[in-house]
């Protein structure tokens, strides 16, 4: 016997509970983050974010794979091959490209398609919208800035000769991993969103983002190498700012030719503050 089911799809009035502002904000964040990663979109939109995520995990997977495959005799040597403090520097370029791909997708389509007018006519305000988009940028970015070193830490614990001893010895690395990853994610999220907020065209946002990060980095590198006592000119290297801030959270002796950690952190703060102001400026409006 063939069983069927009848669905009543007539319009019904809804008198049930309604969620508040936080639920609406979370909806904005969740949908935006998923779509930026290619979810609910065609396969072409999925390839680049997935590939870059895999590349970001690649060093961790190699190290942990080798430790799993080879004898415990070389395990201790492999444990120090990829220090947590070096992770930001090693995959910094991948994170930059990931941010270039993800952040324009969060804002440009809304401006291009005029969807902002519709969103602001719902329960969410302009402030909620911006907060939701910042969170939507942070979550995917933290996938590649926090998760890989966190997995490396878990793997190191697992493969250590004395796991409990490793945890006791490296307890301070847990907050450092989270803080370093969050610092990177905050930087790329705010800067990426600020640039994306200036245009409705994704291609322009990507071009602008790359130009903003790469051109000053090249100029800063050339100037600092050719001008005597010009080490502070390295601060112009915008792309290097989050990496240095992430590294400064670990007890690593900085390069004598580099600006101080404080200078890097101030530069990081200034860039995030300016980006936040750009976002506020772009989404201000006559709205209660």
């Amino acid at each position: 016997m063939i069983e069927g089911r009848v669905h009543d799809v007539r319009f019904h009035r809804y008198d049930g509970p309604r969620s508040g502002r936080l639920a609406a904000l979370w909806s904005m964040t969740r949908w935006s983050a998923l779509r930026a990663l290619g979810a609910k979109r065609g396969w072409k939109a999925k390839i680049i974010p997935i590939a870059l995520t895999l590349v970001a995990f690649f060093p961790v997977l190699i190290v942990l794979g080798l430790r799993a495959l080879f004898a415990s005799s070389i395990n201790d040597n492999l444990a120090t091959v990829l220090p947590y403090s070096d992770y930001a520097g090693i995959v910094g370029l991948v994170i930059l490209v990931f941010a270039v791909v993800v952040t324009p997708e969060l804002l440009c389509p809304d401006r291009r398609d005029g969807t902002l007018a519709l969103y602001f006519a719902t329960a969410i305000s302009r402030t909620d919208y911006v907060v939701g988009k910042v969170l939507a940028a942070l979550l995917p970015l933290m996938l590649v800035t926090v998760l890989p070193p966190a997995i490396l830490y878990a793997g190191n614990v697992l493969f250590a000769t004395h796991p409990l001893g490793y945890v006791q010895e490296h307890t301070h690395d847990i907050p450092r991993i989270v803080a370093a990853g969050t610092a990177m994610a905050l930087f790329f999220a705010f800067v990426g969103l600020a640039i994306a907020s200036l245009t409705g065209r994704r291609a322009f946002a990507i071009g602008g983002y790359l130009a903003f990060l790469i051109v000053p980095t090249i100029v800063g590198g050339i100037l600092s190498n050719n001008i005597e006592h010009g080490e502070n000119l390295r601060l112009i290297a915008v792309a290097a700012v989050p990496i240095h801030v992430a590294e400064s959270l670990y007890p690593v002796t900085p390069d004598p030719g580099d600006p101080s950690n404080t200078a890097w952190v101030m530069s990081w703060l200034a860039l995030i503050a300016v980006s936040a102001l750009v976002l506020v400026w772009r989404f201000r409006g006559d709205e209660s």
Binding site: V9, F11, P17, R18, A24, L118, F120, A121, A123
Partner: protein, 310 residues
């Protein structure tokens, strides 16, 4: 949820609302109060319809005056109002890269529906607007009519008490316009959702609304109840017959219809339009007289509204 279609709660109360954009006065001392379940805002382009609608949603803050929507102050309770209202903007503002279903679910969530409810209601409203077969297609592949219907679906997905439609027939071909007008009429007539609809097309308002506020250069030119106006204008007719006019009038009077001979025509009036027209038809047939002219005696509703607009 408030059933505003069945209550005397005013949908909109505006008192002395003025809004200027630089040198341009978009709304100039607008005052009105409307209880009809379907209200039309009629006016030429630039008359202030969209600004008035945005002030209802709290998207535009008036320079002076107050707008109350469903009893709430639009300037201070904008968030609460927007949760209860649906809004269909004038311009196309749909995310082209999303499917209709995903978009409607997303808008439902943004308007306060729990996720599971939003998914169910998205199916319901897409069925109601005739897009159930296309729900999984990207919006960019839709025709203009389908996009407008998607736009309407997002406005009603959260079961609002009141839906604000800004020029919903814009850009539609005749068939699409017919479908949209039928959908709009259904909202207040069958689904229990009060409607405020703007248009610069008189016929759109007459066919879908119970009352109309005519805006002209930012001011309220007239407020009319359409049912009463049209009934009044249809109860009287101006008739010209070939043959014995006096006998025709006598036959009408015998049928209980008021008929008076004027210069070149007969002025006929009855208790309602149907009775009056049936009596005219029967009298003409009985007298074997030709009906040379039969039209409303006074200015029609359209004549009055056009007068208000100009």
């Amino acid at each position: 949820m408030v059933d505003v279609t069945a209550s005397e709660q005013p949908l909109i109360e505006a008192a002395g609302v003025t809004k200027r954009f630089g040198e341009v006065t978009a709304l100039d001392d607008v005052s009105t109060s409307v209880t009809s379940p379907a209200l039309g805002l009629l006016g030429a382009n630039g008359a202030g319809k969209s600004t008035f609608m945005k002030s209802m949603l709290g998207l535009v803050t008036p320079d002076s005056g107050q707008v109350r929507v469903l009893g709430m102050d639009a300037a201070h309770q904008a968030r609460e109002i927007r949760r209860m209202l649906g809004y269909m903007p004038e311009n196309m503002c749909l995310p082209m890269g999303m499917t209709a279903r995903d978009f409607i679910v997303h808008m439902g969530e943004l308007r306060g529906l729990p996720r599971r409810v939003a998914v169910l209601r998205a199916s319901e409203v897409l069925f109601q607007v005739g897009l159930e077969e296309e729900r999984s297609r990207l919006i960019r592949t839709f025709s203009i009519g389908m996009k407008q219907r998607t736009n309407l679906a997002q406005a009603i997905v959260h079961s609002p008490s009141l839906v604000i439609l800004d020029e919903p027939t814009n850009g539609l071909d005749p068939a699409g316009r017919e479908e949209m007008l039928a959908l709009v009429r259904r909202l207040s007539a069958e689904l229990g959702i009060a409607v405020i609809m703007s248009s610069h097309v008189l016929e759109d308002i007459v066919r879908t609304c119970d009352a109309v506020v005519v805006l002209r250069q930012g001011r309220v030119a007239a407020t009319r109840t359409l049912a009463d106006s049209s009934a009044a204008s249809e109860r009287e007719a101006r008739v010209v017959v070939s043959g014995d006019t006096a006998a025709f009038v006598a036959r009408l009077q015998a049928a209980g219809i008021t008929a008076t001979v004027r210069d070149d025509h007969v002025l006929v009036s009855g208790p309602d339009a149907d009775t009056m027209l049936r009596a005219v038809r029967d009298a003409a047939a009985d007298m074997d007289a030709g009906l040379r002219e039969l039209r409303p005696a006074g200015p029609t509703l359209e004549d009055e509204l056009i007068g208000d607009l100009s």
